[in-house]
Assembly symmetry: C2
Homo-oligomer: 289 residues x 2
Amino acid sequence: MEDCDFNINIAVVGVGLIGGSYAMALRDLKPKCIIGIDKDKSALKSALDSGIIDRAYEKGGDFLKEIDMVIIALYPKDTIKFVKDNLKYFKKGTLITDTSGIKENIVDTINLFLPEYLEFVPGHPMAGREAGGIKWASKDIFKGANYIITPSEKNTSWGLKKIDKMARSMGCSNVTYVSPEEHDRIVTFTSHLPHVIAVSIMNSHEENYKDNIELFTGGSFKDATRVAQINSKLWTELFIMNSDKLVDEIENFQRSMDVLKKAIMCKDINTIEYIFENGMSKRKELVKG
Amino acid sequence: MEDCDFNINIAVVGVGLIGGSYAMALRDLKPKCIIGIDKDKSALKSALDSGIIDRAYEKGGDFLKEIDMVIIALYPKDTIKFVKDNLKYFKKGTLITDTSGIKENIVDTINLFLPEYLEFVPGHPMAGREAGGIKWASKDIFKGANYIITPSEKNTSWGLKKIDKMARSMGCSNVTYVSPEEHDRIVTFTSHLPHVIAVSIMNSHEENYKDNIELFTGGSFKDATRVAQINSKLWTELFIMNSDKLVDEIENFQRSMDVLKKAIMCKDINTIEYIFENGMSKRKELVKG
């Protein structure tokens, strides 16, 4: 397999929203063949019928010997399991990447059993939709998106370059390299915490269930709770695998909120204004636009 | 002044983002004259130069005798003060409305001293922008927006109808009537709480100030922290006037978050999934789209 050349056989494992979107975006790179693997027959049929994939399998097998690049779009535990269960099929030099929202656990575990003749490049496309499933797949989810690669000492520059090239060719704007540990720490703050908050806001609304909240919002409520529309099985797995870091981040947030709550309780104008100014200048620094 | 007729003299008090936007939207209703009142001379000049207002004053005075409708777009305390300080100028039948994000305190206070020959209709346009000032004013902020009216027993159906008609003519989609107390209770949840959260997220980010967070977000962080861009003086006043209700709502949220935190800490899959499902079904019920 040459650098920057996608005239190869690709397998996409998990033909849902993310895997389906990869297959659609990868088609533009003119691969020899895109194979879909999914235990859900109807997802495979739908992907075959619409030409998103060329061949379909319900699980790994001998056919993997022909595959040059494997993209795993499964939940974290299933990602590890797929690699482990199919080690006997992968040919020498096969490049394996994943799409999981948490990296340290996956990288450490896969590196424990991955033979030297295979390469695993951990990837995290920061793209998605509130709804899941192949019918929502679209190559547009990658347009302008962030793509994170979390190399370990086992990666080669060839493998990293290949996935980098793939992400950019699919339309991603930024490809960023950080360690798996650093990835998980930052994403806990930028993604897991906002999800915990969105769900907690909705669940704090007990008594006044019948309020027609939509008539009383100017956008802030909708924005703050959008990601309460969650894939509960996936996020439960992510939260549990990331439990320690996430609890730390929740507690940082709780301390920060307690400071503001106390200032509001005491009607302490100066402290509230200081907290606002501080939050505002941090956001300006950290988030553009 | 006839029902549904805006061929009248209107005063807009506070010619900033909100007041300026009112003046621009009201122009389409063909008023006789729009007068702007603001202590900021440069705001007045800018509004005059661009034809948003026809005449400008730095404070109330004798000219208010000609005014049929007064729209006060000031901070809550200044709203009360403007009405009180100018009682001697308003003519019989003048309709006064406000735009403040908190209602109970304002309605109760103004009703204490408002003479019978004037009518105050409390209004809350749920429209705005992150940036303030006349240069950001636009009549488009009202398009499709929610407008809340919080009547008291002192209001007449004529006065309510007039403000209702005004809001709809300016482009607002929904005009909703609730008591001032109910308004404050709901808005505490739908607006004040998301602002407290956005600010608290930003302020919880102490140690890792240099992270390029933008490369690690897929939207949820940006959404959850958007309203950390806050008018700190205005929101400090709103939070302090609404202190009791807001602290209650923060504590409801904190209890809800603690339940989820404990489940994550204990890696309690069933409870986390239950919390997610519950949050998701509430959001589906409460927020459309």
